[in-house]
């Protein structure tokens, strides 16, 4: 395999109690790079990570750390290079957050584990890196999940590793703490050139922070590559076996399935103004038609996922007369229209004419009326 990998699995077969779960795994990560494992629940992401950190015995193959077979390395030498943040609940009885972070210094302290002034400075710096100064003195058992996760990361940082392995570190965190945690990771990678192997549930975050992505599904490595190659609408839907809804690779977001049926309202949208209306209609279970959107419009991906019918033109093209006429005709046949556009610009004359036509024909209604009409 590529000699520049800092950590790599070679012909690795992992599993429990000697029973192989995933065979012949070939993955690797370079320093200064984030490798992300994604895949459905139970696909074996954690098993792979646990095997890499030697928590699970390999069934076949090797894990190479910095050019050495990890099986032959001493635990203490591994500890100086590899730090972990796993999902196991840590039992920090009577330990403050600072104490827990300080356990990262373990491989560097002497026989009795007494911290030197230098060790303390390193722990303090790690606490600062994860922005945990405010609660570093509090008992570890009495802090929130988000704070706990940050302390565990501080612990890993204090270990001064060259690679950090994290198993779903963002689970249970709110959006702010998710971002903070991943930002700290990204900074570590950039400034200290560490390698990161992480498993994530959040596809949007995986898409944004990963340098390379490994897709685990159906007990095999399904695909491996850059986020640009992996995050494609159809592939992600297939990877997760999504039978309802759809995945939007561009936004890294999921949409529920469209409400099908005869449209009950025509939504004139554009420029991002339509999205809230589309979602509201979807939630209320109202099938709708949307238009007229160039494929480059901000509303287009969501409309495509949620609208029963969609009138669109190719990206960055002007709306031609035929399309305009077809949209107007459809609007008339549906008999109700909603406009979400606050102001029609100069290049959006076609939608303005559509709006004028709707008003002239008395088709324009309030979105709330449409939503309430269904409730009644």
């Amino acid at each position: 395999m590529n000699g520049t990998y800092y950590v790599s699995a070679e012909h690795m077969t992992v599993g429990y109690d000697g029973k192989p779960l995933i065979e012949n795994i070939e993955i690797g990560v370079r320093r200064g790079e984030i490798l992300t494992l994604i895949g459905p629940n139970g696909s074996g992401k954690s098993t792979i990570l646990k095997s890499i950190i030697k928590e699970l015995k390999l069934i076949a193959g090797t894990v190479v750390l910095d050019g050495h077979d990890m099986a032959a390395l001493k635990e203490r030498d591994i500890a100086k290079k590899l730090a972990i943040v796993m999902t196991e609940r840590i039992r920090g009885e009577l330990m403050s957050c600072w104490d827990v972070a300080a356990t990262g210094r373990y491989p560097y302290t002497g026989r009795l584990g007494i911290l030197t002034k230098e060790d303390r400075a390193i722990v303090d710096a790690a606490i600062r890196t994860v922005h945990a100064e405010d609660f570093k003195g509090r008992p570890f058992n009495r802090i929130s999940d988000g704070q706990r996760q940050r302390i565990l990361l501080a612990r890993a940082i204090a270990q001064q590793p060259e690679v950090i392995v994290l198993d779903e570190p963002t689970s249970f965190l709110d959006v702010k703490h998710k971002l903070e945690l991943l930002d700290v990771l990204k900074t570590m990678v950039r400034e200290q050139n560490v390698a990161v192997i992480v498993s994530l549930h959040e596809l949007d975050l995986a898409e944004k922070i990963s340098d390379r992505v490994v897709c685990v599904a159906n007990n095999r490595i399904d695909r491996c590559g850059t986020p640009e190659k992996i995050f494609r609408d159809d592939y992600i839907s297939a990877l997760y076996g999504m039978e309802t809804g759809s995945f939007n690779a561009l936004f890294g977001s999921v949409e529920l399935p469209a409400v099908s049926g005869e449209p009950k309202v025509f939504v004139i949208g554009g420029g991002g103004s339509g999205v809230p209306a589309y979602r509201a209609l979807q939630r209320a279970g109202v099938p709708f038609a949307a238009g007229i959107l160039p494929e480059s419009d901000l509303d287009f991906p969501v409309a495509k996922a949620l609208a029963a019918e969609l009138v669109s033109v190719p990206a960055f093209s002007a709306i031609n007369e035929a399309t305009e006429r077809a949209a107007a005709a459809r609007m008339l046949s549906i008999g109700r229209a909603v406009s979400t556009v606050p102001a029609f610009g100069e290049t959006n004359a076609a939608n303005r004419r559509l709006y004028d036509a709707a008003r002239a024909a008395g088709l324009l209604v309030d979105l709330d009326a449409v939503l309430k009409g269904v409730e009644a």
Binding site: R76, I84, M86, E88, I90, R111, N141
Partner: protein, 354 residues
Amino acid sequence: MRQNGRFAQFKDGLLRVSRSFDRARLPIGFAILGAALVGLFFWNIAAGSVSLSFAEVADGLFHADSPFRTIVIDARLVRILSAILLGGALALSGFLLQTFFANPIAGPFVLGIASGAKLVMTLALIGFLSFGINRNSNVLILASFLGAMLSMGFVLAISHKVKRMSMLVICGVMIGYICSAITELVVQFAEESNIIKLHDWAMGSFANVQWHNVIVITAVVLPAFAVTFLMSKPIGAYQLGEVYAKNMGVNIPLFRAALILLSGVLSACVTAFAGPVSFVGVAVPHLMRRLFKTAKPIVMIPACFLGGAVFCLFCDLIARTLVSEQLSISSVTAVLGAPIVILVMLRRQKEGER
């Protein structure tokens, strides 16, 4: 703004005071334990069926031809030393077992380890007596250790099946009962003259320890204490959980074996010379955690040893002097120790930890 600044200053000051007290907690705690040990030492020498004055004690301690020599040295000092060493060993053994099982109410007595040691020792003792061989303290320790390891093996096998700490303890208590029942049965079949010798010891007492036993006890307990102290770093890592300990570089199988062996040797030594002594192993580590507000092994290991010594000296003082007849040490340690165990369980319940 200024108000805020002043408040922050005030808060900072308070924090600093509490922090400096916490820093002083260590010397204060050890000073309390040390003073208690010295105080109880002299009280134990002076008090008993014959009360001695300070001058009489000093006379007995330092003059070989003193009329108080026998009572001070051969009756009381030997008993004090064995209470100190065995009490420390019990508490330390409890601390190690609590670390191993991640269970604050684990201890050599509650897990049935002491009872297992007692059973095998009784068998060995009756064997010696009926063949007319003099009991040899080294062989007794070995038998006791064997019994401790047998019970420990059972508890270990069960601990793989049950994850709840209360279940583990219940299983341990049951093992203890089974061992005690068999012990009783064996004693029933032993010849009558042998029973009397067994009786005292089976109830738990520091009364039967002799000078040459103290030498053996010292030779077992002090090295075990030293090794445990040197292991305080991996013990600290293990407190976080096995996964993290492994990542920190602890050789887990070796470490677990060492922990089992050490706690087995310590509790076997106690059982061999003083019989089963209940609840010290659970109560003392808990009291020490409360006193020092930490679970750090580098503090806890010496603290538990000292605390166990103080606790047992105190309990033995009560056992010797409360009523004219001597009480068994276990009845005193149980009265003082068992409520603490209940307290620990209630606290855990409140904190919602398993």
